[in-house]
């Protein structure tokens, strides 16, 4: 199997989508001539022209609103918001317009737009360039949210998002951009709403998404040395999330930990834990635990950020607790 970098997988998904559908356009700051702040759109202007790969001024609010208007008028805009932290500026367009237009217009038309945006720390990018805000969007009826952990799903989820008739927020993890992994010979879309069991195990279930999936895999490796077999579920989609796959795993392992890089409080983990405590109550042999970031801004200093980010050790400790 060939190897592909996460960022190249995104690039290829964008290229294939532009190739497949003439109504797809890319918009964003420095996405065209410069090829993107992280290089996700490199080479696309040369292939598809500046008419379809469009450099924009620093006008996030208007661009997100324009994406809604364009989507209602026949285009499939893919908007890059350079850092997820900047999505604070696009909230009206996404929350009040994109998410509701289909519903509040009585289903007259869908809003096929995609916002791509990187979250996550580990790069000493500091409090305003590192946040994981995906739970905000997952909380809004009408939006879909996906978060790929590896190159194959980065490709597949982005293709699915662009093909989807509804607004989809594609959350990329910027610490993963440079990572490489094996991918199938032919890359395929990954359907939204389907999780993947990426490591089978009988003793406990670790549910995660994005960069934290790798933290879980590292923790599972440590636990395996102690004879504990952790099952790792990569959610891939956060809204909608794959309740059946998580439930299925829980009913085999009877122990559940949800792990994410976003702050632990009021997050994706809280939602999954609450839901599983409800429908999975009879299967549980231990309380459901969450491992997430502490309730504080993402710090800059490496010494601080290292302690801030949820570690494999923290996952291992949580695992010992649910197994005690």
């Amino acid at each position: 199997m060939p190897e592909l970098r996460y960022i190249r997988a995104i690039n290829q998904a964008l290229a294939d989508a532009l190739e497949a559908d003439p109504s797809v356009i890319l918009l964003g700051e420095d996405v065209s001539a410069a090829g993107g702040a992280f290089g996700a759109t490199r080479g696309l202007r040369d292939r598809f022209g500046a008419e379809r790969v469009i450099d924009t001024p620093i006008s996030e609010a208007a661009l997100a609103g324009a994406a809604v208007g364009a989507a209602l008028s026949g285009l499939k805009p893919v908007l890059e918001i350079m850092f997820m932290d900047f999505t604070t500026l696009v909230m009206d367009a996404l929350v009040n317009q994109a998410a509701k237009a289909r519903f509040m217009f009585g289903g007259q038309r869908s809003v096929p737009l995609v916002v791509r945006t990187p979250h996550g720390g580990g790069l000493s990018a500091g409090p305003q360039h590192s946040q994981c805000l995906e739970a905000w969007f997952a909380h809004v009826p009408g939006l879909k949210v996906v978060c790929p952990a590896d190159p194959a799903s980065a490709y597949g989820l982005l293709r699915a998002a662009i093909a989807d008739p509804d607004p989809v927020i594609v959350v990329e993890n910027k610490a993963l951009y440079a990572t490489k992994a094996e991918v199938p010979e032919v890359l395929e879309p990954v359907p939204i709403g389907h999780a993947a069991v990426i490591r089978p195990g009988r003793d406990l279930t670790l549910v995660s998404y994005g960069g934290a999936v790798h933290t879980c895999m590292a923790a599972a490796g440590i636990l395996a040395n102690e004879g504990i077999e952790a099952e790792v579920v990569d959610l891939r989609s956060l809204q909608p999330w794959d309740e059946a796959t998580v439930m299925n795993s829980l009913s085999r392992t009877h122990r559940l930990i949800v792990v994410h890089e976003a702050v632990e409080a009021f997050g994706i983990g809280a939602e999954i834990a609450a839901r599983m405590a409800d429908i999975g109550f009879d299967e549980l042999d231990a309380p459901i635990l969450r491992v997430g970031a502490p309730f504080m801004p993402v710090p800059f200093s490496k010494a601080l950020e290292r302690k801030y980010l949820p570690s494999a050790d923290a996952v291992v400790q949580a695992a010992r607790k649910v197994l005690a």
């Binding site: 356009i25 379809r52 609103g65 208007g69 209602l72 009206d92 519903f103 008739p165």
Partner: protein
Amino acid sequence: MTSSHRAALGENQMLKLYADMLLIRRVEERLGRLFADGEVPGFIHLSIGQEAVPVGVMSALTADDTIASTHRGHGHAIAKGMPLDGFFAELLGCEQGLCRGRGGSMHVADLSIGMLGANGIVGAGLSIALGSALAHQRLRRNAIAVAFFGDGALGEGLLHECLNLASLWRLPLLFVCENNGWSEFSPSAGQITFRLADLVPAYGIPYVASDGNDVVAVSTKAADIVAHVRREGPAVLECFTTRMRGHYEGDAQKYRDPAELEALAARDPIRIAKEYLRRLDVGEERLQDLLTDIDCRIEAAVAAARAGSAPDFETAKADTYTPVDLH
């Protein structure tokens, strides 16, 4: 207004403009009564006194052009051609409404005629119209988009972003400011330090002002500016007009000087349009027939809406996302 404007419009054109305005006026007066009787739930913002703007602007548009509207959007919707049945049924919250009772007055939309929705968020229509104009341009349609906004939206930063983007990309986008001097319960003069006329030249695009209560002035200026937008790119049309009712129905307007309200009668756009018709020797009888016909159509739509059914909750909920079989 120059005399050429008067000369430019013949009897039929003038009658059409008058009839379109009268339709909006009668629809909104009817809505006001329905609201007072408790038949229209929620909030409604009437555009009584401002009808010349949507009618004048829409007279310059084609069916393929798109518009994004505001919270005060009934006039835009009806002037763009929204069917009365679907309109009234929506405002009464029925399944038969254009939005199946999910949007109401503040979100009424008809995508099939290019009406991209009223909007509950001040200024939001600016960027939606911008995106629609981008789609027209990139898909090489001959259409333009129009963003309606009030003078209250002059305080929103989004306006700057949209003016800059429209100019930068030479988008077929017409900005139409409906300047009625009010932002809710406050004069906008107490909120806004600049004149749009002074701001727009900074973006390098044309600015045109119009008496927003004179439908001949609005339609003549709109015809010119729309032709420019279709040919060359964005422009701004500011229409100075009058909000003759409260911010919303039920607003007692204690903050307004009674003398000011009284003086508005002279500027009533329907009255001004009638003057033109009188000068064209259109008889009172024809106008009476027109009114009767309009009221008949309205009553039929109201009756149909009253006979409408309540929307089904599960169907509405399922429509939060596109059904899988439509993927």
